[in-house]
Symmetry: C2
Subunit: 364 residues, 2 copies
Amino acid sequence: LQRINIHEVAKRAKVSIATVSRAINGKPKVSNTVIRRVWRVIEEIGYYPNTHARTLVQGHSRTFGLMVSSTIARFYPEVLQGFADLGAEYNYDILLSPIPKDANRFGLVVRRLMERRVGGVAILSFAREKSLATIFERSNVPVIEIVTESSKASASTIKIDYEHGIRQAVQHLAALGHLRIAFIAGPANSKIASARKHAFRKCMREIALPSKLILEGDHTLESGITAMSTLARLTPRPSAVICSHDLTAVGVMRAARDLNIDIPKHLSVVGLDDIDAAQFTTPALTTVRTSQFEIANAAFHALLNATPTDGSSSSHDPFTIKTNLVLRDSTAIASCRIAATIGVTVRGSSTIASMTNKDFSNVV
Amino acid sequence: LQRINIHEVAKRAKVSIATVSRAINGKPKVSNTVIRRVWRVIEEIGYYPNTHARTLVQGHSRTFGLMVSSTIARFYPEVLQGFADLGAEYNYDILLSPIPKDANRFGLVVRRLMERRVGGVAILSFAREKSLATIFERSNVPVIEIVTESSKASASTIKIDYEHGIRQAVQHLAALGHLRIAFIAGPANSKIASARKHAFRKCMREIALPSKLILEGDHTLESGITAMSTLARLTPRPSAVICSHDLTAVGVMRAARDLNIDIPKHLSVVGLDDIDAAQFTTPALTTVRTSQFEIANAAFHALLNATPTDGSSSSHDPFTIKTNLVLRDSTAIASCRIAATIGVTVRGSSTIASMTNKDFSNVV
DNA sequence: CTGTTAGCGCGTTCAT
DNA sequence: ATGAACGCGCTAACAG
């Protein structure tokens, strides 16, 4: 493989290397005869142009770095897949890099990307790794990050609009007759978690519902279990709960089962993010979805825009990703006796319909 | 960034580029004074050696390709993460590439990897993409794939030993008193699915249990629902079912709920693979786990071994990955009346203990 | 239309 | 211990 280069092709096709180069890159002013001859040789000897040589002379590499935290990698895998697919589509190479747990090791992974002369880097993490971005920006390498509020917005950022989906969730629950809706928050030091909490508060106020019922949590399943036991002791007990993360919602559902609290009969549960697991719980979890593909798509195109050669260099507004409520089976009308007898039809009626198949005889 | 190269460093450090090169690469015969001076300049001007130039002169690139099918990307995300982590650890760059749905587009993604002069490629897919591997092998690029039987084993392969985990599952169920154990198979044309089915048959025969109860399926949730409705009509009904894939098990559990068949009281369910969702079902799914990290680890080291420079070039035996039963809450003793009254303690007793919290009064 | 040549940035002889 | 010069494979600018 080593000795098979453009010279070899040129020799066999009986032309100069310049002509081979032109033929390969579809430059004009090459006779069709020669083009065919060159390509035939290429196929014959299995020649692949050396990207590194090409990059060296052209000065850019059509490569994007994709740095993902372990959380993203595990719970939002379609982001990686989507990004890889887009790379294939736009003929960009994707360099996959982890975001180390240990910030001391940031330098190492950044260095590898810099040495590769990546044209841009998507830093995908819910904990904003500020020190990562600055290293790239110091060398004028475009960086995009996930952001919730219009924080610095220095480089291109992708912004997730939680308000839209959370408003749908709150209104959905309100339409089902829930007046006391609790919220299990995420880690206090997380920007994204507080954005979610604020959105909840705002949307509750909009429809004049009390938004005081906010429990602490940390986006883990365990915190859902803990919160549920707190919730169960409240009087009057809230009839619905929105969790800052699907995993917490899973914890709530698990704890509820042990407490003989039926979901959705006695407690409606809504999650956030629509991770894969949300579809597979019993009952399936109603949740505010953030499209993983859209995150990948926004990140990729933001990078493309920041690239002088390919970028449409359109407005540098941050990409905004909408969230949407996905109705499944973990929410139901506030008092199921009413629902069962009068057969109310409201938005989310399919949810209610599925209740009839369930068993309500063992509630505390 | 463009104009900042080794010459610039050399000029500022008042040495030749050769000396800079030596200092960077830790070659001997450079005075400490000079080393320090060089590094200071490097830090100062933010110099990063150009990997492409280095690759060009050295002839190899410390890059591995990671080709993943959409199934792997979605349900086995830790494989990607593990591979990326190992890349960072061993200073290898990881080029992430999708395996296109359309085999016609294989050429494009392969080409990109070849042009990058990857030192090896891990093709991670459960449907063996034979045509992919051959393209690489034609150019002597090491390829590793996932394999179940010692099929061709031409290149290094990683082999998953399903028998071990499935034997544990069968014995676990037998120990719980299950005599009629069904199996929901995967797609007939899938090597990996038939390997699982054969392992089931073999392990059942080993303990002299009938292994005739095999239903068709295709590793989807829907096929689990379908299979469950078939299962429910059987007389006598099997008391346990092993599913060729976790998703199918989720489908079984969902259908069982609608049929008022309690899991695990009236039906024990075991899955395969331990995808993320398995932890989040209710009850949590007992399953035969294939460590995703071990797949990544085996693939990475197989590639390392196949690399002349770095490889320990040890035995070319295929890496074998063991599977293991993970006990959760979807399996229980065959007749729960007995369990409840005499409190039998067997392997998996924790499973049985958790039953006491559950509700058994509504079974058909 | 096609060939010749000069680098792209770096590692590596071979001198000194 | 350090420097000069060559070449890795390729594209681009210029010559013909």
